[in-house]
């Protein structure tokens, strides 16, 4: 990877608030055109990290470069190349969708067509509706529209689909795939693992402020974490669980041993979610599984 390919580079990033360490020695790189997902439970340091990259927060130490610029010193020309969808926003909502988008489009040197953006986020029927009158999910789509109207090279999406119904989420995924196809680099935080699996080329898992794993979405956690599990019940009702790289052979041997079909036979390939939960629990055993809504 040459430096020219790198859109975002983070080296040994640390952020402390008094005695609390929010981000602890995090390093990663995102190539141009790549979609990178930061996964992790609430309070793990995802938003702190992304807000340092967006220029909202200062860092305690470490080196950060976003589109070749230190975000702590980024000027207006730099901001013109970014699209930022914050985790929570709440405008007063007195303007209509089309009015607000047209206004924001004016901030950028080469904005997208406002009508196209409204169509892309599926808000044509609401284009002339005041934002205050939209549902929570529709308002979130306005946030996304404002993030992409400036035709950003790099798009930050901080938990973008919170409050979306499944259909809206599917539409959103299609939109992100189109942006990807146009070459947009995307940094996504989410706790919907399916979302990361659908959209991201690579993912990093943050827990307790540390990056505990990083890699391709289908490789994260290493091959060890993805060894299939074979589970069956013997005659006495005892549930056996054994991990094996050769689950077929294992099942055959179990059948041979029992001389019949085993009860409750399952061969489980750990999903991203299983891998993720293992990773997060290994850092913070108290991490609630309810954080995960895949």
């Amino acid at each position: 990877m040459t430096t020219n390919d790198v859109a975002v580079s983070v080296r040994n990033l640390r952020k402390t608030y008094g005695p609390t360490t929010a981000v602890d020695d995090v390093s990663f790189e995102i190539r141009h055109g790549e979609t990178f997902a930061l996964l992790g439970p609430n309070g793990a340091g995802k938003s702190t990290t992304i807000e340092i990259l967006e220029g909202y927060r200062t860092r305690t130490s470490g080196a950060v470069s976003v589109l070749g610029t230190d975000p702590a010193k980024g000027g207006l020309d730099w901001k013109a190349r970014l699209g930022i969808v914050l985790q929570s926003t709440g405008e007063t909502g007195l303007l209509t969708v089309a009015e607000l988008l047209a206004h924001f489009a004016g901030f950028y040197p080469d904005p997208r067509d406002v009508d196209e953006v409204i169509t892309a986020v599926g808000l044509q029927p609401q284009a002339k509706t005041r934002i205050a009158k939209l549902s929570g999910g529709q308002q979130r789509r306005v946030d996304v529209a404002l993030g992409i109207v400036g035709r950003p090279e790099l798009l930050f999406l901080d938990e973008p689909t919170t409050g979306f119904d499944p259909e809206a989420r599917q539409h959103f995924w299609q939109l992100i795939r189109r942006l990807k196809a146009e070459g947009t680099t995307i940094l996504l935080t989410t706790h919907y693992l399916e979302e990361a699996a659908q959209l991201a080329d690579r993912a990093g898992v943050i827990a307790g402020g540390r990056l505990v794993a990083m890699g391709g979405v289908h490789e994260i956690g290493g091959s060890e974490a993805r060894v299939p599990v074979v589970r069956w019940r013997d005659a006495s009702g005892f549930v056996h669980e054994r991990r094996s790289d050769e689950p077929g052979r294992l099942v055959a041997s179990v059948v041979a041993e029992l001389g019949r079909e085993p009860d409750g036979l399952e061969v489980i390939r750990p999903s991203l979610e299983d891998v993720y939960l293992q990773l997060v629990r290994s850092v913070d055993p108290a991490a609630e599984s309810e954080e995960v809504l895949a």
Binding site: G90, L94, L95, G106, F107, Y108, G150
Partner: protein, 267 residues
């Protein structure tokens, strides 16, 4: 996009939201009209007031006071509450992530104060003239004084409002912090209570703040000659008006520059 073009675009945006916000429309835009109507009606039986030979109706006395109140509300109350709300509801954070310059943002705010302030004061004068039958000054010199006191007063109020927006800790507390300050100033600066009825120590205290000077300048414009005997030192003291407002303009500018940020400081 230049800062000025964007500033102009912001003025349109800000003015649109101002007129779509019912709270602002009543408590900032319409309030001086309501007060002028109440004062005129309440004291309609008390006849004419003022020094012998220069007597006028109570409504005529309160017209310059309500113009001064309008300038204060349009600048200080409007912007201090508005910006504090924008800070707490995430509007400023979002703008801070775009290539919008803070200068364009403030051009938008001050431009909005100007558009709405001109409209408000214009309608107040018109209402006073047409509805209450108040005689307006005819001398060009008086209107010239009106123009500079209005512009200087409005810009100063806007900057003080921007500076004051840094004080409330949340959007919810913004009105609770700002409105008592603005109300108190109106009571001690000769807006709601007749200036010459206030004790000297209170007049001196009120002179520390800009509203007293805006009101004094407006009284010079709209009250007949002869009323200056009821002013401090029996003089309109227009140079004093200019100096006091200029000092507050600089204070407002410096404080705004020092305290404004798109988001609360990252501790």
């Amino acid at each position: 996009m230049s800062m000025l073009t964007l500033g102009a675009s912001r003025i349109g945006y800000e003015t649109k939201t101002y007129f779509r916000s019912p709270d602002t429309l009543f408590f900032t835009f319409a309030f001086p009209f309501v007060m002028l109507a109440i004062f005129s009606a309440a004291f309609s039986a008390s006849g004419e007031i003022g020094p012998p030979g220069s007597q006028i109706s109570v409504g005529a006395y309160y017209l310059p006071a309500m113009i001064a109140a309008g300038i204060l509300l349009s600048g200080v109350q409007n912007l201090a509450v508005d910006i504090a709300m924008e800070k707490s509801n995430g509007t400023l954070k979002r703008l801070g992530g775009t290539p919008l310059s803070p200068i364009s943002y403030f051009l938008g705010k001050i431009g909005q104060v100007f558009v709405t302030g001109v409209l408000q004061v214009g309608l107040l004068i018109l209402a006073g003239w047409l509805v209450l039958g108040i005689q307006l000054p005819t001398e060009p010199e008086k209107w010239l004084t009106f123009a500079w006191v209005f512009v200087l007063g409005l810009v100063t109020s806007a900057l003080v409002g921007i500076a004051l927006s840094a004080v409330p800790r949340s959007g919810k507390s913004a009105t609770a912090v700002v409105i008592p300050i603005v109300l108190l100033l109106q009571f001690i600066s000769g807006v709601y209570l007749q200036w010459n009825m206030l004790p000297e120590w209170l007049q001196n205290f009120a002179s520390l703040f800009p509203l007293k000077w805006i009101a004094q300048g407006m009284r010079y414009v709209f009250l007949p000659d002869g009323w200056e005997v009821l002013e401090q030192n029996e003089s309109w003291n227009l140079p004093g008006v200019a100096i006091a407002l200029a000092i507050w303009l600089v204070i407002g500018l410096v404080l705004s520059r020092l305290t404004f940020r798109w988001i609360r400081r990252d501790a």
